[in-house]
């Protein structure tokens, strides 16, 4: 089974558009496909595929958080001083409190607390489910509690469940929609993958973020190709960007998707554009790209 990760240094470049249309294209070519949404902060892949029917779900405890026992706390402020994430708050004259959103569960507060008022324990992270989409393939996605997002541990859990399910079903390919950026969840998404599709836009800001993403992809030594989305309006910049991808980054160039409002209409109808309107400019470009990916991997 091949594992393809769709990633992007910048947000909103079109990862989900590419991942959803690629999945539908490959399934129609006769491959057995499985998908996973590793963008746990903005899990939009299932929405883009028109939702699903839950076939399997599991509660997970993938993160740890500190809690303070207000009766034992003597307001000494030691935990507040040592917390590397600024997650402890000390109201004037009050007891210490943990801002769970900012707590990474390192437990330093517990070590310095003189009255044993702090416990660090596993937090209820939420649910990871496998959904059956109407396109005949599964999608692993997370429904998570607030403040339980973006951890590499969580992304690893989703990938593990997706891999196991995909292998059980005898899938040929697992397509992973990654989070934007280059941080912990992205690293957890791409390590060990067979191929990365890096989606970018023809703007200087997106190019800069593609460069940053390429440094990670190269660090983990994963073959990669680039898709330029929202093309056709930036003239010379697009040509320069393509040359730069080939000559400087030395990644494959998979193709360019032109600006096409059929993509927006497809999103509103919650269908991959390649299914919503196969004749749209964007769909034709996506088919060329998906075909190219197929040529590279099989």
């Amino acid at each position: 089974m091949k594992e393809i990760v769709v990633a992007s240094g910048k947000g909103g470049t079109g990862k989900t558009t590419v991942a959803s249309s690629l999945a539908v294209y490959l399934v129609r070519k006769g491959l057995k496909v499985f998908t996973a949404d590793a963008d746990v902060d903005a899990p939009d892949l299932l929405l883009a595929l028109g939702g699903g029917k839950t076939v399997f779900s599991v509660n997970i405890r993938a993160s740890e958080k500190a809690t303070v026992d207000g009766d034992k706390c003597v307001s000494c402020g030691k935990c507040f001083e040592v917390c590397p994430f600024g997650a402890m708050v000390m109201p004037e004259g009050g007891r210490a409190m943990v801002m769970k959103l900012m707590c990474e569960g390192c437990g330093v507060c517990k070590l310095v607390c003189p009255t044993d008022a702090i416990e660090v324990g596993q937090a209820d992270t939420g649910t990871i489910s496998v959904e059956e989409t109407k396109y005949g393939f599964g999608c692993a996605t997370g429904k998570l509690k607030l403040g339980e997002h973006n951890s590499g541990h969580l992304v690893a859990s989703i990938r593990n469940i997706a891999r196991r399910k995909a292998q059980d079903e005898g899938s040929d390919v697992l397509i992973v929609d990654a989070a934007p950026g280059i941080g912990c969840p992205v690293i957890a998404s791409i390590t060990g993958a067979d191929y990365v599709i890096a989606v970018t836009e023809p703007t200087p800001a997106a190019k800069r973020n593609l460069k940053r993403l390429s440094q990670i992809i190269k660090h983990f030594d994963i073959p990669a190709g680039v898709v330029i989305n929202k093309g056709g309006y930036s003239g010379d910049f697009e040509t320069t960007l393509r040359d730069w991808v080939l000559n400087e980054l030395r990644f494959q160039f998979l193709g360019e998707i032109p600006v096409d409002y059929e993509v927006v209409r497809a999103q509103v109808q919650m269908k991959p554009v390649i299914d919503f309107n196969p004749d749209a400019k964007a769909s034709k470009a996506l088919a060329v790209i998906a075909n190219e990916v197929g040529e590279i991997l099989w």
Partner: protein, 313 residues
């Protein structure tokens, strides 16, 4: 909870955030900063999207050398280590490994820099070492003071770089001379977004009229509510062909969160993006420029209101 929002600085801080990526956070943040400066305010713009900072590119600013963001990394002194393994047991990231009686080995990529190992070592065997995880740049461009945090590629700890960037900005704001700080956040609702929202006094939440935009808007509004941070919605790409505003409008009325601006599609935005010149500096006539300038006036009015009440921050 708001009373805990102690950042020890009297400069209003406005966060521009959005849940989903690519909705136009940076476009709004940069144009708001430049617009407020054109209104005569002294503005600091803080880029806390440390995974992919873009404010400098949109502002046409050159980033110089910058200051390194360092975290703690344990340096183990073999001559003092007795092999008790207390440090190994306390490390929740499993970044230290050893067998009984041996000096532990550090897996650097797993280390969060929390210092738990150093705190439990009774033999003084763990010394301060450092690891560079990012860079903070400061520069002046287009009349704006720009502070940019950048995560070093291959380092995973975005929240730590975000926190360092926020602290750096707050320390400069304390020295005085600023009327307002605009903070551009990362997409998402994770710790690296919570760090800047925690010091902010107000949030502008940028979204777009698609089911995906609406879906992620709910997440970021939940986060703002958790932090008791007042917010307003900025509806970007408001008239995108095929888009649908219905769901966004019902979220707005359900939650009682107003829409501060509706920014229409505008080719001038793309041109400003490509040239590195903020739209409101290029023109005041294009459809998006008009909407952004109206947002600027709304924010300026709000800031002046806050000042005359004497209830800043």
């Amino acid at each position: 909870m708001v009373t805990f929002r102690r950042k020890k600085v009297n400069v209003p801080m406005i966060a521009v955030t959005g849940g989903k990526g690519g909705t136009g956070k940076t476009t709004v943040a940069v144009n708001l900063a430049v617009g407020l400066n054109l209104e005569g305010l002294k503005v600091m713009l803080v880029d806390v999207d440390v995974d992919g900072p873009c404010c400098a590119a949109l502002l046409g600013a050159e980033l110089g050398v910058g200051e390194e963001v360092k975290t703690f990394r344990p340096l183990i002194d073999e001559t003092k280590c007795v092999g008790c393994r207390r440090c190994v047991e306390v490390c929740r990231e499993h970044a230290l490994f050893s067998l009984q009686g041996q000096t532990p080995i550090l897996f650097e990529e797993l280390c969060s820099g929390c210092k738990a190992c150093q705190l439990v070592c009774q033999y003084g065997a763990i010394k301060d070492g450092w690891k560079i995880i990012g860079t903070i740049y400061t520069t002046d461009a287009n009349g704006i003071r720009l502070v940019v945090g950048e995560l070093r590629p291959t380092e995973p700890r975005s929240p730590m770089v975000a926190r360092a960037t926020v602290l750096r900005a707050v320390s400069e704001l304390q020295s005085g001379g600023y009327d307002v700080a605009i903070i551009d956040t990362a997409p998402g609702v994770h710790n690296a977004v919570a760090q800047p929202l925690w010091v902010a006094d107000f949030a502008l939440v940028v979204t777009e009229p698609t089911p995906l935009g609406a879906h992620d808007l709910r997440f970021i509004l939940d986060l703002a509510r958790e932090l008791e941070l007042p917010a307003e919605i900025v509806l970007n790409k408001a008239d995108v062909p095929g888009g649908s505003k219905d769901e966004l409008l019902s979220i707005s009325s359900e939650r009682g969160i107003g829409i501060a601006a509706e920014i229409p599609m505008d080719d001038e935005l793309l041109r400003s993006y490509l040239s590195g010149e903020p739209l409101v500096k290029r023109t005041s006539c294009s459809p998006a420029a008009k909407a952004l300038l109206s947002l600027v006036r709304r924010v300026a009015k709000r800031l002046k209101g806050v000042e005359s009440d004497g209830t800043t921050a």
